[in-house]
């Protein structure tokens, strides 16, 4: 059967305004009536006993209904029990007092005193109810400071921005939970799951509290975004009842979502400095915008970079495109110009060197000594040198590129010596050595050294997932070797790199 308790509970916030209105109006009418009687002013309206009895009866009935619905709401809603208790008992008291008042309706001093104290009780009950819905500092938060002092209200806690001001965090100094993750939760979650409220017994204002979770279990499972309630609830369609934040509240941005997902997937780090973490480029872009600067210091100015890029593109006949909608990061492609692009032309890229993330020098005329400017391109993620005259000596300009993920050396004069030097590239994921003198052994040994643990874990879990899917399919075929878990993931990674 349908739970009508919850349905009526949801009517509480509507019904509750009836007794407030009725009794306040009654108070006003009684005062006017009293004045009229004392001054003998017949033009002022005076309540007849019958009218008073009717208004009191209506008021009492609505007060009892409000209290009952309120009780139903407290049973079904996710409210903090301690905060509800005060309001609840005041509400019950108000309902009882309303009925008592009905008995005193004959008038006289007892009735007047009774009505006055009843209105105080009603105001208190209503105030605590308001605090429950809007937060405890809702009423006073907008008071002008002078009035606040007059009423003895403690000054409001300084806003988040004001706290940050004394020591502005930068990309280098920021810690991941305090300066990146916590501010998101503070803005979007803590008004209901924080120090003032903990709906569903859940607080999201500290790492420990998230791990502890609420009545539905832990909100955070490090390394498991899909299993973390925090991410699950946020990822639900906004129309869904369980979606968080509730539909009417401000929602998290796509960047927020990406950050949280990445944060949970990378083990929900706490004290780690942002600059020391392994950040995917998309995450790094977002963090660079939020924190200002990136791991190498200040981010170049987009406008100036794009202007310099446009001039260089025209002067050198090369293609330059921005890689992101608002960062200064560039893709520079000199391949279409061929051999007419040489060392002198590469040296002219100086003004935009700090912004280049993809650089295609394939089939150009660059040489080993001419590669020196590449060493200053600390942001490089992808580098094509295929089909150039580059040899092992030229790689000295490449091995300092700590962020390089993709290196294409196909058809160059690289040998095993050069391949061995590439172990200095901590983030290298893809290396192409076809049509060079490099041997498979050298590539394999480099692959073994470059394997990073997290990647292996990911491969393993992908394998396991595939295994599960196939079982679920009940495919009646010879599964054979293919499905065995990868026992030597290192080989798979080495195998992914092209061998000569």
């Amino acid at each position: 059967m349908h739970d009508f308790g919850e349905f009526f509970g949801h009517l509480h916030p509507v019904i509750v305004h009836l007794p407030i209105g009725i009794f306040l109006l009654l108070g006003v009418l009684e005062i006017i009536g009293a004045i009229g009687r004392r001054r003998n002013a017949s033009w002022l309206p005076v309540l007849s006993p019958g009218q008073r009895a009717l208004v009191l009866a209506l008021g009492a009935a609505s007060a009892v209904a409000s209290a009952t619905f309120g009780w139903l709401l407290a049973r079904h809603g996710s409210y903090d029990d301690a905060a509800v208790a005060t309001h609840q008992w005041l509400g019950f008291a108000t309902a009882a007092a309303a009925m008592l008042l009905l008995l005193l309706r004959r008038g006289g001093a007892a009735y007047g005193l009774g009505l006055a104290s009843f209105l105080v009780l009603l105001t208190l009950a209503a105030h605590f109810g308001g605090k429950l819905t809007h937060g405890s500092d809702y009423l006073v938060s907008a008071l002008p400071p002078s009035l606040a002092r007059l009423f003895g209200v403690p000054p409001p806690p300084p806003k988040i921005a004001a706290v940050k001001k004394p020591a502005p965090v930068t990309f280098q100094t920021a810690t991941i939970f305090e300066n990146v993750v916590h501010p998101i939760l503070q803005d979007r979650c803590e008004s209901c799951h924080g120090p003032t409220h903990n709906r569903g017994s859940l607080r999201l204002d500290s790492w420990e509290a998230m791990l502890k979770g609420g009545k539905h279990g832990p909100a955070l499972k490090p390394n498991d975004p899909a299993g973390s309630l925090l991410a699950q609830r946020i990822d639900l369609p906004v129309e869904a009842k369980e979606h968080m934040p509730p539909r009417a509240k401000a929602q998290l941005s796509a960047d927020d979502l990406g950050l949280l997902d990445w944060w949970i997937a990378s083990g929900a780090p706490r004290q780690n400095r942002v600059a020391a973490l392994d950040l995917p480029p998309a995450i790094e872009d977002v963090l660079a915008t939020r924190l200002g600067g990136n791991r190498d210091g200040a981010v170049p100015d987009r406008g100036a970079t794009l202007q310099a890029a446009a001039e260089l593109s025209r002067a050198l006949g090369i293609l330059i495109r921005p890689l992101t909608p608002d960062g200064p990061w560039l893709e520079v492609n000199a391949r279409p110009t061929g051999k007419s692009f040489g060392d002198a032309e590469l040296a002219r890229l100086g003004p935009i060197a700090a912004s280049i993330q993809w650089l295609d020098l394939g089939a150009t005329g660059v040489t080993d000594p001419g590669l020196a400017p590449v060493a200053t391109m600390h942001q490089l993620l992808r580098l094509h040198l295929d089909g150039t005259a580059v040899s092992d000596a030229g790689l000295a300009s490449v091995t300092g590129l700590k962020r390089l993920q993709y290196l294409n050396l196909r058809g160059t004069r690289i040998t095993d010596l050069g391949v061995a030097a590439l172990r200095a590239l901590p983030r290298l994921r893809a290396l192409y050595l076809w049509q060079t003198a490099a041997t498979p052994d050298a590539v394999k040994s480099l692959g073994d050294q470059l394997v990073d643990e997290r990647r292996i874990d990911r491969l393993k879990s992908e394998q396991a997932e595939l295994g599960r899917q196939i079982e679920a399919e009940r495919f009646e075929g010879d599964i054979g070797d293919a499905l065995r878990p990868v026992t030597k993931p290192a080989e798979k990674i080495a195998g992914k790199k092209s061998s000569p």
Binding site: P281, A282, D285, A310, L319, R321, P322, L323, T324, P325, E331, N333, R335, P336, R382, H384, D386, Y406, N408, R410, A430, Y432, W434, E462, Q463, L466, G467, I470, R474, F475, E476, G477, D478, I479, G480, A482, L483, V486, K492, S498
Partner: protein, 487 residues
């Protein structure tokens, strides 16, 4: 550089129009005004730039980080059978020859099987688990089985059009209405190409020996309402890709240059007079044709390719019009900076003789498709080249004599490279391969387009062209990016 959106440019043209209108062309005034309102101000734009300057795309920066730089679309025209190639169905094999459950087909659109008795038709072909990932691929495609770990098989694709030509149009332009730009044209409009020496959108065509295949109309690579410089250019598969690129006797390149420059100058006058944006296209085409006089012979010189590479693709004779030869040419086009390369192979329309004709067409296509992936990979090009392999729809799990009919509720396609994760499949179909499952991985053609644009850093909701007072997109008002496909 003068911005293509500079309102000053549009204003100047408007002023000139009104002056002319008043000063003596009153007879033409009505037509002139009509034309003026048809002209998209964005295109007037390029005034201040020479008409022959390369087009670098309407998007000055991407909407998010791009992964891919070019597309090679291996278009299997006719509708390959997903049931026999990528989507094995044990249950369908079990009920082979029995009536197809009416609960699946009631009230559904059918092509040629309407009002016939529907019988289930299992697959006659075996499947294997391949690679480390264990992807299931038909034994009809032994070479594709070798690249299982590089490809993502989409099993939940579905379309809205059940006949070849409209279905091609839907796959290419996201609409069956004539005059809508194809996806290659949209890409070229948005991003430009990375070469000035070849068209940015090239189409190649091959087919089987029978000659009975469905034709593919040139409207499939049309630029629609976009300026025609963005339309696909079909190259010949036999011999030299473009006819008559050589100079006649007595004409040298420098004479040719002078001729082109003079024609461009005269066209410039004409353009100022008429303000027809298509004149710009014509000037650009003259320039491109001049450059192709040298770039095309170099492109087509497959003798530059070592024998081992030609063997890998299975090219018997370069330029013989085969799919293999086209694949090799496609790689050479990709290397030269062409943005969108579409290879149609006709011959997948097995209404009958499926058990003999399907293996035949697979043999013609399988080796070269896989070789293209391997070749791109060894060159380090697969990271930024998005390869699509598939047709305009699939084929029914119900038999049609000795074959299968057209089917739009589910079909398979594979994607590789360009940031797409390999070695897994996306989406699934019901136990008979009849309909895609709504499991969050279902993929409509609009979703495919949105995902493809996303690989290039383009938000499909932001690549817009205003035509006749309405904003148009490749995905119209639909499309959802399948983020799970990306590594």
């Amino acid at each position: 550089m003068q911005s293509p959106f500079d309102p000053a440019v549009a204003r100047r043209h408007q002023l000139e129009w009104s002056r002319r209108t008043f000063l003596g062309k009153s007879a033409q005034a009505l037509g002139a005004l009509a034309l003026g309102s048809l002209i998209n101000p964005r295109l007037l734009a390029t005034a201040g730039k020479a008409a022959s300057d390369p087009w670098t795309g309407i998007l000055s920066s991407p909407n998010f980080r791009p992964r891919a730089k070019r597309v090679i679309h291996l278009y299997m025209a006719g509708g390959p059978s997903h049931i026999d190639l990528f989507d094995p169905k044990t249950e369908l094999n079990r009920i082979h020859g029995q009536p197809f459950p009416a609960s699946f087909t009631n009230g559904q659109q059918l092509a040629q099987l309407q009002n016939t008795k529907l019988l289930a038709r299992g697959s006659s072909f075996g499947f294997s688990r391949c690679g480390l990932s264990g992807q299931t691929i038909s034994d009809l495609l032994p070479y594709t089985q070798q690249i299982a770990d590089d490809i993502c098989v989409i099993r939940s694709l579905h379309t809205e059009q059940i006949n070849h030509d409209p279905a091609h149009a839907f796959m290419n332009a996201g609409s069956i209405i004539k005059g809508r730009p194809s996806m290659g044209s949209w890409m070229l409009y948005g991003l430009g190409a990375e070469t000035e020496n070849l068209p940015g959108f090239v189409v190649l065509m091959s087919r089987g020996p029978s000659g009975g295949e469905q034709p593919v109309s040139a409207r499939q690579w049309s630029a629609g309402f976009l300026p025609s410089r963005f339309q696909g250019v079909q190259f010949q598969s036999h011999g030299l890709p473009v006819h008559y690129v050589g100079n006649p006797d007595g004409v040298c390149q420098s004479t040719q240059r002078q001729v082109i420059d003079e024609i461009a100058r005269l066209n410039g006058f004409h353009e100022e007079e008429t303000l027809d944006p298509e004149i710009r296209t014509q000037v650009a085409q003259y320039e491109l044709a001049f450059k192709m006089q040298t770039s095309v012979p170099d492109l087509a010189d497959l003798a530059q390719e070592p024998a081992s590479i030609r063997e890998m693709y299975g090219v018997k004779e370069p330029g013989d019009g085969s799919f293999a030869s086209n694949c090799l040419l496609a790689r050479r086009l990709a290397e030269r900076g062409v943005r969108f390369i579409q290879l149609y192979h006709r011959g997948w329309d097995q209404h009958g003789n499926l058990d003999t004709d399907l293996p035949d067409v697979c043999r013609r296509v399988d080796q070269a498709s896989a070789a293209l992936i391997k070749d791109l990979k060894q060159r380090g090009m697969l990271d930024d080249t998005l390869v699509l392999w598939g047709g305009e729809f699939g084929r029914t799990p119900m038999g049609q004599g000795s074959g299968r009919d057209h089917h739009i509720n589910a079909f398979s396609m594979w994607m590789a490279g360009g940031g797409i994760r390999g070695g897994f499949s996306w989406g699934s179909t019901d136990e008979l391969g009849y309909r895609y499952l709504e499991d969050g991985q279902d993929m409509h053609v609009h979703d495919l387009h949105a995902t493809m644009l996303a690989a290039f850093g383009i938000d499909h909701e932001k690549l817009i062209y205003r035509f006749q007072g309405r904003d148009f997109r490749l995905t119209d008002v639909h499309g959802q990016v399948a983020r799970g496909l990306f590594a």
